[in-house]
């Protein structure tokens, strides 16, 4: 029976000793059916399907040689990848790193022939001894899933919603002729157990929506390893997940890789993930490979200025930006002095007549000029609180006061007058600006709404703010779609500041941006805050970002308060277990440091009696 049927076996040596079969990679090149000569025929029902791959004597299992990809588009040809070469050996993790538009996903897609029809590829991609770029549709189908498998970014959409998980798992076994019927079901259970989904037998009959995001990603990984591929291409496998789940998924991938000696091509923009997982790193910039090498060398001693900048832009715990000092609010003063004050705040969503309480009994205050970081994972209610402060959601019970008055209870004029004093920056740069408004109108909209100034003074204010966010004045006549994400986010900030608000609500303002752009926007945010001295509720899932900016931090979990206090204390000397978990799960962009951190995390979890994944 398979050694991997037993969940607790993490010993890579034992795994290696039991790989009796001569491996699939070598034989498969000639085998037309794409089925290894070594028999795992469904008739015999022998397990051991998920097998360890041989080392190939140092030869790579996946190799890109001078690969270029051109897309033929409406606006002419676009050269997305320009002559990229690198190798992946069995059991090795190679991280392909870069920002938006660097061509890293396109590069990886060539390995399975998964490019859209308007793409043309030159160069060679070798998978084992096969030339993928020379295969026809039929040949490609035979390697997909069988010799190279893929793990996608969005676990929520990567699984077919109308088919059971079991159906989707056994499908690839059927397709590649590995197992059928009850035999396939048995293997599916085994696979689910391998990726750490309990009660697999029962859950096989469930549909994807009955699993959480992290579990779905585990299922996608189970699907990927089901036919024992030599290479797994993981395209941003943890980007859509919370940090704690990310840490688990990375642990899982690492343990599977050690057991199976699979080569992993890890595509990511997250330098922490790179430091955590990769053996070697390839850095891509606009379709070109600018630097590649061993992970320590690249991350600790980068040669290319781009790599250097990229690493420098990553927010780290402990780094600090200069922001204004908050006005102290002492007990002797009246509460009205607080910019925002919440007491016993509860918020409910109305879902088909049923009340669903998502925020429970939260207390916090934000003094004028103070930045309060609201931290938590998805579903923690942090954005809900922000929306409630903006008056977009009613308060179910408790009180929420802005400069001493309750926005939701104010009527018409007074509410508008209060709103004038609040600015807002949202997360999604694509959605936060009306696509039909030119930038000038976007920035001056608050003035129009509140009847402030005339046309000329409004334009002057717009120019002033554009200067403040360091964008050219000529941009007033442009439309949002002509700007990049980072630029749009800066316009968003400018709009929030138009009326000199005393309170600014920033809901994940940088989480949709690339790291280097995020760094620029955060710098600017800090600068503007020290200049305009607004109080700020800063919502973020990224502890490092909050650490850089916030004076005080409120950690949330499932709508409840976990820990609150000055940033220095909460994020550097946490007292609550959950905060510790969060901190230990967030990877840092340094392989050595991350190794220590990982070990610490394991110890923390072991002390709590849990598995690391």
């Amino acid at each position: 029976m398979s050694i991997f049927g037993r969940k607790k076996n993490h010993n890579p040596d034992e795994g290696r000793s039991e790989t009796g079969t001569p491996g699939t990679a070598g034989a498969a090149g000639s085998s037309k059916a794409g089925r290894p000569a070594s028999g795992t025929s469904p008739a015999t029902g022998s397990l051991g399907l998920v097998q360890r791959h041989p080392d190939r004597d140092g030869r790579p299992i996946l190799s890109f040689q001078d690969v270029s990809v051109t897309f033929n588009t409406e606006f002419g040809d676009v050269n997305a990848v320009k002559g990229v070469s690198f190798d992946i050996k069995p059991g090795e993790v190679v991280a392909l790193v870069g920002e938006s538009g660097s061509g890293k996903s396109v590069t990886s897609s060539t390995a399975m022939g998964l490019l859209p029809a308007n793409a043309s590829v030159t160069g060679t991609v070798m998978l084992g001894d096969r030339e993928v770029t020379a295969l026809d549709a039929n040949g490609l189908r035979k390697i997909r899933g069988r010799h190279a498998a893929m793990v996608f970014q969005e676990p929520m959409t990567a699984l077919n919603p109308v088919l059971t998980v079991g159906d989707q798992l056994t499908e690839s076994l059927n397709v590649h002729g590995i197992a059928y019927g009850t035999e396939a079901d048995r293997r599916a259970v085994e696979l689910l157990e391998m990726v750490g989904i309990p009660d697999a037998q029962h859950r096989l009959k469930q549909y994807p929506h009955q699993f959480s995001g992290g579990q779905r990603q585990r299922i996608v990984i189970a699907m990927a390893i089901s036919c024992s591929p030599e290479v797994i291409i993981a395209d941003e496998p943890t980007t859509a997940l919370d940090v704690t789940v990310q840490a688990e998924i990375l642990e899982l991938l690492r343990s599977l890789k050690d057991q199976l000696n699979t080569g992993i091509l890890l595509i990511t923009h997250n330098m922490g993930v790179v430091a955590d997982m990769a053996d070697r790193v390839c850095v891509m910039l606009r379709g070109e490979l600018v630097e590649s090498g061993e992970v320590h060398q690249v991350m600790q001693n980068p040669q290319h200025p781009y790599t250097e900048r990229l690493l420098g832009s990553v927010p780290r715990l402990g780094a600090e930006l200069t922001v204004s000092e908050p006005d102290t609010v002492t007990a002797s003063q009246t509460t009205a002095v607080y910019a925002i004050e919440a007491q016993g705040l509860c918020i409910e969503y109305d879902h088909r007549g049923k009340k669903n309480r998502v925020v429970h009994d939260i207390d916090f205050t934000v003094a004028p000029g103070e930045i309060l970081g609201l931290v938590g994972e998805s579903g923690s209610g942090k954005s809900t609180i922000a929306k409630s402060v903006l008056g977009l959601l009613p308060v179910a019970s408790g009180s929420l006061k802005i400069h001493g008055s309750d926005l939701t209870r104010l009527a018409g004029k007074e509410a508008r007058a209060l709103r004038k004093r609040i600015g807002v920056v949202f997360q999604d740069p694509a959605a936060s600006l009306d696509p039909r408004f030119p930038i000038g109108d976007v920035i001056t909209e608050p003035m129009v709404i509140h009847n402030v100034g005339n046309r000329q003074t409004r334009m002057e204010r717009a120019y002033e703010l554009l200067d403040a966010v360091k964008l050219p004045r000529s941009v007033v006549n442009r439309f949002p779609h002509e700007l990049s994400g980072g630029q749009r986010q800066r316009i968003s900030i400018a709009r929030a500041l138009t009326l000199d608000p005393e309170v600014l609500i920033a809901d994940e303002p940088t989480s949709a941006l690339d790291v280097s752009v995020q760094a620029a926007v955060l710098d600017m945010f800090a600068e503007l805050q020290s200049r305009y001295e607004f109080a700020c509720l800063f919502v973020s899932h990224d502890l490092a970002v909050v650490d850089m900016l916030a004076h005080r931090v409120l950690v949330l979990k499932d709508g409840r308060q976990v820990e609150q206090g000055p940033t220095q204390e909460v994020l550097h000397h946490p007292t609550q277990e959950y905060t510790k978990r969060l901190l230990s799960a967030a990877p840092v962009p340094d392989p050595d440091e991350q190794l220590t951190k990982r070990t610490e995390r394991r110890q923390l979890l072991e002390s709590l009696g849990e598995r690391p994944y």
Partner: protein, 507 residues
């Protein structure tokens, strides 16, 4: 879920009530019900006016009349429907029974045909997006959207019905060589566009279809097929086997022998059944047909389950499909058998007026043929137009689904196109299509008004039209009662289907 459906049902009911009031008020205010009598010179004019006022209850205020109608409808709950009388004093419920039967026959048949072919064409055009066939179908779809129904109906009558009847009545109904070549070319071009592939494969498909046509049509001439059509055991077997193989290719892949054998066994059993039931089906009735159909499907399911092994589901589906095809072939064979005797009775078979030949008597099959030929033109017309929109929905939905991430996942697993499209894409795209189709059906009953008018059917359209012309609310409201009820029922059906198809709603 049940609560949700019940609530929807309740609100639909209220909407229906409001709509009935609206329509009632509008109808009685659309003109003067006594206009023709006021202008009449008849001696008994006063008496006629009195009589009509009495029948229509015109001496009462409008709300009382509406209330009368509503309570009459309310009695349907206890099985004593009273839909009022029309202006001549006839019970509307009696008129409605006949009218609804013929209209529903037309609409149901047209809808089923349109659904099946619309979905198939939609899938085809989605798979072959931006190909020649996609553009042709797109253009045709727009044509059908823009076609005035009544105008197209006249064209159909002229060219299809009268043309065919003339051809059949001519002393030597056969195909001329130019006709054969044109048919062959069109068929060849269409088939190569559908099957696609590389240039060589397309050429072979084209030539194959062309040569087949050039051989088959003269052969049919030689058989005098138009007057004495027949399939014979050979054709039945061939088509049945083709159905089994085709269904296997689509449903499981030819490699899956268990499924293939299940289909083939069913096909062979079908042939046996053809001989076994020959006497029974000589002049049957609907009950016999129904029983045989149930038996056939039961046997097919049994074969599928017995043979299927690990792929029971696919085997059962293929087996049932083959059984349905075989059953259809057997029925067609019996219809063909009765065609010559039917021709002797009516002469010009394709009817352009009416829903059945008056005073027609014949065997079961002849009667079947009579109803069928009467249905032919209006069904083609209604089906073509709905088919255009269904194929559009399906194409749109398939394309939408094909952009989803899970399609990419399926492809990355190494599935072939058949599996990706049928198993992953189609299942998902069915969700919106089913909902739309359910909504459409009720509208189609309303829309059949024009078709019935053009083809002279005495259906619900006729009921409505005369009712409205005579400002007589009872028939108009009866018409609305049927369409409104259908709308509510199909809304309900849509909700249920939605839950069936989408596990996110169900569990």
């Amino acid at each position: 879920m049940l609560k949700f459906i019940l609530r929807r049902f309740g609100s639909s009911f209220l909407v229906l009530l409001g709509a009935s009031l609206l329509l009632y008020v509008l109808t009685i205010n659309s003109g003067d019900p006594l206009k023709d009598l006021r202008e009449s010179n008849a001696d008994n004019r006063e008496y006629l006016i009195e009589q009509r006022i009495d029948f229509m209850g015109l001496d009462q205020p409008w709300y009382a009349r509406y209330w009368d109608w509503l309570t009459g409808v309310g009695k349907c709950v206890i099985g004593q429907c009273d839909l009022g009388t029309n202006r001549s004093g006839q019970q509307v419920i009696d008129l409605l029974g006949l009218a609804a039967a013929s209209t529903l026959r037309l609409v149901v048949l047209a809808t089923v045909i349109a659904m099946v072919f619309g979905v198939l064409i939609g899938i085809l055009t989605a798979i072959r997006q931006y190909s020649g066939i996609d553009y042709v179908v797109t253009f045709l779809t727009f044509m059908f959207f823009s076609l005035p129904v009544f105008w197209a109906a006249v064209l159909l009558k002229e060219y299809l019905a009268i043309g065919f009847n003339d051809w059949l009545a001519s002393p030597d109904p056969g195909f001329s060589w130019p006709t054969i070549i044109v048919v062959g070319l069109v068929l060849g071009l269409a088939l190569q566009a559908v099957l696609a592939g590389n240039a060589r494969r397309r050429l072979f498909t084209f030539l194959g279809a062309f040569v087949f046509t050039c051989a088959a049509l003269p052969y049919m001439d030689w058989l005098n097929f138009a007057r004495y059509p027949q399939l014979g055991p050979v054709v039945i077997t061939l088509v049945g086997v083709a159905a089994a193989v085709g269904a296997t290719v689509l449903g499981a892949g030819l490699k899956n022998r268990r499924v293939l054998y299940a289909g083939l066994i069913t096909a062979v059993l079908g042939l046996v059944a053809y001989y076994a039931t020959y006497g029974l089906l000589w002049d049957p009735n609907w009950l016999i047909i129904l029983i045989l159909a149930v038996v056939a499907i039961g046997v097919a399911i049994a074969i599928g389950r017995l043979m299927g092994g690990y792929s029971k589901g696919a085997a059962t589906l293929v087996s049932v499909f083959t059984a349905v095809v075989m059953g259809g072939l057997i029925i067609v064979e019996h219809l063909f058998r009765s065609w010559p005797s039917y021709l002797e009775i009516v002469g010009r078979p394709i009817a352009t007026i009416g829903s059945e030949t008056p005073n027609f008597t014949g065997t079961f099959w002849e009667d079947f043929l009579d109803k069928g030929t009467q249905l032919l033109l209006p069904t083609i017309l209604l089906a073509l137009i709905s088919l255009a929109s269904y194929s559009r929905y399906t194409r749109a939905s398939m394309l939408e689904v094909s952009q989803q991430d899970y399609i990419r996942t399926a492809r990355a697993k190494g599935l072939n196109e058949r599996q990706v499209i049928l198993k992953h894409a189609f299942r998902n795209s069915l969700i919106p299509i089913t909902t739309i189709m359910a909504f459409d059906f009720a509208g189609l009953i309303g829309g059949a008004v024009i078709t019935e008018q053009v083809f002279g059917w005495k259906g619900m359209g006729e009921l409505f039209r005369t009712g409205l012309e005579q400002v007589d609310p009872a028939p108009v409201m009866a018409f609305f009662l049927v369409t409104g009820t259908a709308a509510v029922l199909f809304n309900l059906l849509a909700d249920i289907l939605y839950a069936v198809l989408d596990p996110r709603i169900r569990v």
